[in-house]
Symmetry: C2
Subunit: 334 residues, 2 copies
């Protein structure tokens, strides 16, 4: 698997992910418990369940989301050139999603599906500890498949960025396989974010093989990477990563992140914050900052620091899409 500096590419990153509108509301700990939700995790639910949960949810705010789409939007907010592939229906929320991602500056050429399941939504219960508990109805995303992957778009981006959530649907997984093959054929790099510890649990063996053989850059948080290697501590997982993965950025919340590439290892502190509002999107924004730095040839430590600054920015607001341009964060890198 060659890792060569990309020849000049018109796009920085092409993201492939579940196109989801987030429905965010503050929630008590009691409500999360009473509804039997797995706190801090992403759980897939069907249409009936999502409607039941929505009725129990407090006043909410709709914001375009989807882990990978958040990363692409943030990349654009930094001044980068991202594109995105994801599937929405031609309904209210689908139009909202398409509007928002284009307005953010992300190339998004997919046509909304005229029929089939509704645009996906993710109910996010934000508890007073700023943790988010996610209940996702995949809707139109279940129809994402290889036919959605435009080869020219893959070939045009230095990095192909995939979210692990896509492994939950066989057609989406096939789309990823197709995109990976095209990317490698064009000398592009492939990045994967592991998305969620439960998702990792469902696809552990496939992910292990994937990160060892197909993935050039791995993003994971502490819960995901320890789940991947069934490790009992971060350091134990880190030793496995160093044996099996060439290039990884591992995020640890307030403990910062650890970045490694070959023999290089960086231990990066979390960026300081004034007030923790909502951790939704921390990992997505870290990836955006990191990928932006990588595309600009920053050294690895600076990529990690920019990731931390972006993550710090997003956890001080409600929701996972940046409310303002992020270019000023670049000045804080020194």
């Amino acid at each position: 698997m060659p890792i060569a500096p990309s020849p000049e590419a018109p796009l920085d990153v092409l993201g492939l992910g579940n196109a989801i509108v987030d429905v965010l509301a503050y929630s008590s700990e009691e409500l999360v418990r009473e509804l039997g939700l797995v706190k801090g995790a992403m759980t897939l639910v069907d249409e009936e369940r999502v409607e039941f949960l929505y009725r129990r949810m407090g006043p909410a705010r709709e914001v375009s989301g989807g882990s990978c789409a958040n990363t692409m939007a943030a990349l654009a907010a930094l001044g980068g050139r991202p594109a995105y592939i994801g599937r929405v229906k031609d309904d209210e929320l689908g139009r909202v999603f398409a509007h928002d991602i284009r307005a953010a500056g992300v190339t998004f050429r997919a046509k909304p599906a005229p029929n089939g399941p509704a645009t996906a939504r993710c109910l996010i219960f934000v508890t007073p500890d700023a943790q988010r508990t996610m209940q996702t109805y995949l809707g139109a995303c279940v129809e994402l498949g290889p036919e959605d992957v435009e080869p020219e778009l893959v070939a045009a981006a230095s990095i192909l960025y995939l979210e692990g959530y896509l492994w939950d649907r066989p057609e989406a997984k096939a789309a990823c396989r197709k995109a990976i093959a095209i990317a490698h054929r064009h000398g592009r790099q492939v990045a994967l974010t592991l998305s969620d510890p439960f998702c990792v649990g469902r696809w552990r063996e496939e992910f292990r093989e994937l990160v060892e053989r197909e993935v050039d850059i791995l993003f994971a948080n502490e819960a995901e990477i320890t789940a991947l290697y069934e490790a009992s501590s971060f350091d134990e997982a880190l030793q496995e990563v160093r044996r099996h993965v060439r290039f990884a950025a591992l995020t640890r919340g307030p403990k910062g992140s650890v970045v490694l590439r070959g023999e290089e290892v960086h231990v990066i502190d979390a960026a300081p914050i004034d007030r923790l509002v909502d951790t939704t999107g921390a990992g997505d924004l870290y990836a955006a900052g990191f990928l932006y730095g990588l595309g600009r040839g920053f050294d690895l430590g600076a990529c990690g620091r920019l990731g931390s600054l972006c993550a710090a920015e997003i956890i001080q607001q409600f929701g996972a899409r940046p409310e303002r341009p992020l270019g000023s964060l670049l000045d804080r890198l020194r």
Copy 2:
């Protein structure tokens, strides 16, 4: 500089350091400010100043201390076999020091000086944030020199452990040089703790050369290692360490520690605590746990975890010498 597994040695570690009795008292932030003390650091003071400061100090507790001596006492409390070389006068505090270190189980053969300056003391102002501000009168320690280094004792220990504080006196530095030469001649390893960021600032060039050429195992906290390499972040210092030092354990307070040996890198979390009482001795105890594990052939991650457990133990009590045997911490390593 050979690093070979030590042939069987009767002692685990021989420590060489300033033999000091700590005088600990709780202090307000205001008092520290009013006295013009450099908070969190160790400052050397003369006899007149130490007496002035002692008069201003609240009710205090005298406990044998000295960074290296604390590490040796903790090694004994873990069940290890340490020895110690340091200089005291034949006065009240000198007898206290000798009694305590022997009662802790540390081999200590030095004869107290019949005359000359009094036994060293370190006034420690513990502020409500559990930080310690140290004012040291070196007294009898200033007479520590090459003649105090018993070659048989150096040859008998797997590891020679030196404290950076010794560099503040030319005779003590000469003692270190002599001990290092003997240790290497006998195939023993040499460990150094950098002791204090201001001490590092005073001897930066010498320490850089020393850790690159003579030291097999380096201990430093974040302030010390960033001072050594004049780095603006921990990660920047880490990159320097990886370039210049083969084996290092870098402590970061609540952020845990980073241990590296050759290409191996471990990121170790701080062990959990119930209540922070006094950070005095955290680094000394970390070194003890680490050295104990090393002597027993533990893998590096386990050495770091034992260091963290020992540090967590000591910061939950007042003072830097363990109040109880530490053997039970070994069970918590899994």
